[in-house]
Point group: C2
Chain length 194, copies 2
Amino acid sequence: MADINVSLTARTGKSEPGAAARLSPAPEGEPMLDLIELLFFAYRNFVSDPDEILHGFGFGRAHHRVLHFVNRHPGMRVTDLLDILRITKQSLGRVLRELVDQGFIDSRAGASDRRQRLLYLTPKGEALTQEFVAIQSRRLRRALEESGSESRDVVRRFLVAMIDPEDRSPTEKLIARADQAVEARGATRSRPAG
Amino acid sequence: MADINVSLTARTGKSEPGAAARLSPAPEGEPMLDLIELLFFAYRNFVSDPDEILHGFGFGRAHHRVLHFVNRHPGMRVTDLLDILRITKQSLGRVLRELVDQGFIDSRAGASDRRQRLLYLTPKGEALTQEFVAIQSRRLRRALEESGSESRDVVRRFLVAMIDPEDRSPTEKLIARADQAVEARGATRSRPAG
DNA sequence: CGAAAAAAGTCAACATGGCTGACATAAATG
DNA sequence: CATTTATGTCAGCCATGTTGACTTTTTTCG
């Protein structure tokens, strides 16, 4: 289970006595080579789960992200999605069109601002999204079980802290904007789809 | 700091009382929506650090990975790198050629098996790699500090456990193969570059 | 020794998912 | 009515993955 650490540490210790600390004594602090590497392998396996499912639909990772965030924020605007994903309108446009055309996402004009396209998962989209959530959650639960009882809180705090402070509340902004819109006109948007 | 969790949890609680648990009572276990999302944001920020540096050299993430693993395993074979990265020879060939041509990586024929190309970082390649290690280690150290004293071990165990068991020792295989080669002919390869 | 296998490299073609730039349209806003 | 905003779209480029076919060099093994 701790195979990777042991061997990587051993290897580093044998052939390279700490690359960054070799010339001057730790000018930057301890190099976290093991965690850097583990993050690479862990994330690769983590995203490969949905990748396999997506392949069957002719979709890719980009589609997964869109489905995920629309699931998280039903009725979100296209602009909100662009802010979260940080890709261009053109890049998003491609995958969004495919998802709408194939009936995974429903795009409806906003009731109060009809320029907006508010995004919802269709039942078909919800089913697919839940597959992803299920398989990734399974991996996460297994990992948390293997890493100790209080690991969930530690891991969550760690992951939050890994995010740039200014990026830590993209969803707050989204929710704030939605709430603001609701306030400005009465609760029109809270359940626009019924 | 815990902004994301709070709001996302609140949001989920408000609008969707647990998507996977809505129809039947938790058929798959608790959905880890918060961690799924946090991993996405955390990893994006994590890899964006080197990305910026790489852009200045006309390089991309693929180059980063190659530099990283050659740094970890000086003298590794091209095949070893292919096994770790799990990309095709052709994909690796492109970035490797650029790295060799521009003097970041040195590729030398193996002493005992001259079909092999053993890969080493040049001083130039080492300098660049250490930039990446430094900046990513800084983020990791900060995150570990923010998430508690025993967090490093918990996080490391968690990340190892996130990896498919059969993938947990790619480096073992590499080292085993190298050691085997060394045994088979006496320690020819341990410092072939002097 | 000679055949087969292994390590590496290369050419060509294609897919995905990023990007920029330039526009177009509809709707809201002042 | 002019401007801004939200969205969408065309065209083309780049990075990095893929498959398939092949070559060269060298090692291994019957």
